[in-house]
Amino acid sequence: MNALFSKVITVLDTEPYRLVVWVVAIVSFVALNAAYLVWVERKGAGRFQRRPGPTEVGPAGLLQPVADGLKLMSKQLLVPAGADSMLFRGAPLLVMAPVLMSLAVIPFGRGLAAVNLNVGLLMVFALGPINLMAIMFGAWSSRNKYAVMSAARVVSQNVAYEIPMLLVVTTIAMVSGTMDLNQIVEQQSGAFWHWNLFRVWVNPLMPVTFLIFYICMLAETNRAPFDMVEAESELVAGAYTEYAGMGFGVFFMAEYANIVLGCSLATVLFLGGWQSPFSFMPGVTWFLIKMYFLIFSVVWIRWTFPRTQFYGLLNLSWKILIPVSLFTLILSAAMIKMLRAPS
């Protein structure tokens, strides 16, 4: 039995099979997460509001995402008259693709990364703006002036928050000396005070850096309190207005997939990835625990705060986050120079 098992593993570890296994794994991970994060969100919303959340469909409402998915799939996929049909249909695909690709470089455990790129960090941020472009494609091709207005806002919001995020990530790259995500996690081995979050001897403002990254992650994924895209549909129609049925469903799932990506990046960069806080039994379980804790905090924040105003959002980014992240970048550069140690 054991011999058979190890034979299967060695076969799967060779190239074409390994790729297939990883593709299936990542796609199913994203799909299950996107579906069940909806359940987590609704249950969480319910509990924050002192009510049970979904309970009818399935035990404790666990089949609710299935019901929602079936409902969305049963709707007719409309393409509005005069809309650019190829872009309109292609936009949902373009939204999902970068997330799936970026998850290929995230190390889930020791040796558990689909691709071992030594510029993994750069790849994630290169793929990031694609989903932003996809929203713009979708809104533009809908031929609906409210959708275009709303999408224009999304673009300016995302661009404004890309900048502090990239500055923060540059700080981490400088502090770690590498862009390979596996290496970054390896450097945080040991107990939890070795994590990047607490690495204040190299960059005294490390917790602030984490905070900036977290806020930028919320803004990039269009989550409350920065969710003008979805909420604007109260007054003006949102960017997804012409999408019906599963087209909208894919945008929705992509949002949750982006949250998963953002939280796993935060875990890898700041919270030690798959390292355990007490330096015994590190592994993929710790990664998942940390990632889901961050996702819970994203849900928590959504249900606590009202929405910011649009100019408040841009003010926050341009006037507060960018100066602070620039300052931390310069500070860590100075500290590294003084200490003459790259780690």
Binding site: Q49, E234, T304, F305, R307, Q309
Partner: protein
Amino acid sequence: MIVSEPISRSVAGSAPNETFVLNLGPQHPATHGVLRVKMTMDGEYVVRAEPVCGYIHRMQEKMGENRTYAQYLPNTSRIDYLSAMNYTHGLVGVVERAARIQVPPRAEYIRVITSELNRISSHLVWWGAFLLDLGGFTPLLYAFDDREMILDLLEGITGARLTYCYYRFGGLYNDVDETFLKGARRFVAHMRPRLKMYRALVTENVILRKRLIGIGPISAEMCRKYGATGPVIRGSGVSYDVRRAEPYSVYPELDFDIPAYPEGDSMARYLVRMDEMAQSLRIIEQALDKLPGGPVMAEKVPRVLKLPAGDYCYAVEAARGRFMVRVVSDNKEIAYRLKLRTPCLSNLSLFEEASQGMLLADALALLGSLDLVIPDIDR
């Protein structure tokens, strides 16, 4: 104070004076009701906002000309369903004033207690709905949780939860029982820490403060011009409250403050309403302490109520402002003319002038801070 400047017209060759009409249709996702606002927009900025009301006109004043005074009582609850007790008080007060009916003191105190409970429940709905407009979904449910306590109390004595038909000419429908009195005290004790929690959760929240401070300034002159009353004018610095200006019922014997804030922006109106909830709790406590015994109904109230010919009016401080009932009677059982002066119509009229040049989302925050109930506008 934010001064919103219109965007420069000569930007990158865009056509000047290109405005479009955005229709905030009669159906809102928010709980305002069926109000249509025709907004002429210049990009993001509101050039002109014209409210169009009348989608829920139910001819309340005409019904007043076709029903006897007693038959009109259920209508009063439905004009502004959130502060129904106060509106019934208006009608009951005008008939008692005209027919010179003396209300026993126990009934007056119970009227004050129930009116103030109703005011708190109305402000809780406003608070929850306003925050829902602004994007915070959770405080609505906390507010409704507290409101359940009030509604259960009032259900125990009147039998209804929203449209109480509790006051009668000369007193009340029935007396309150021990459960209500104990429950009211328990509610006051429960609500004070909750108000503190609301303060910490929402009022002090920096996101909310950024959304409300300086937004939608309304000056006291504008309030006077349009006849706005209630928290709108108190949020512009004028300490006008019908309970002090034209005292009625047993309010002169109770000790409470009138909160007023001079800034005139949405945050001032917000704070006025939160403080009013605290003051209402004070009033309820005092009224519970001072509650006398005795009958709850005047004796010898005539069966067929014919008001002597003449022109009578009676004003109360409802949750949204000054509500006045004017009855013109020609010595019949049915009024010749029943006029309802409702606060929301006056409060809404200043929206057109106050929202010029504002961003759309700010204009909606202003609309929410005016606390409108549309059936009150249309009657």
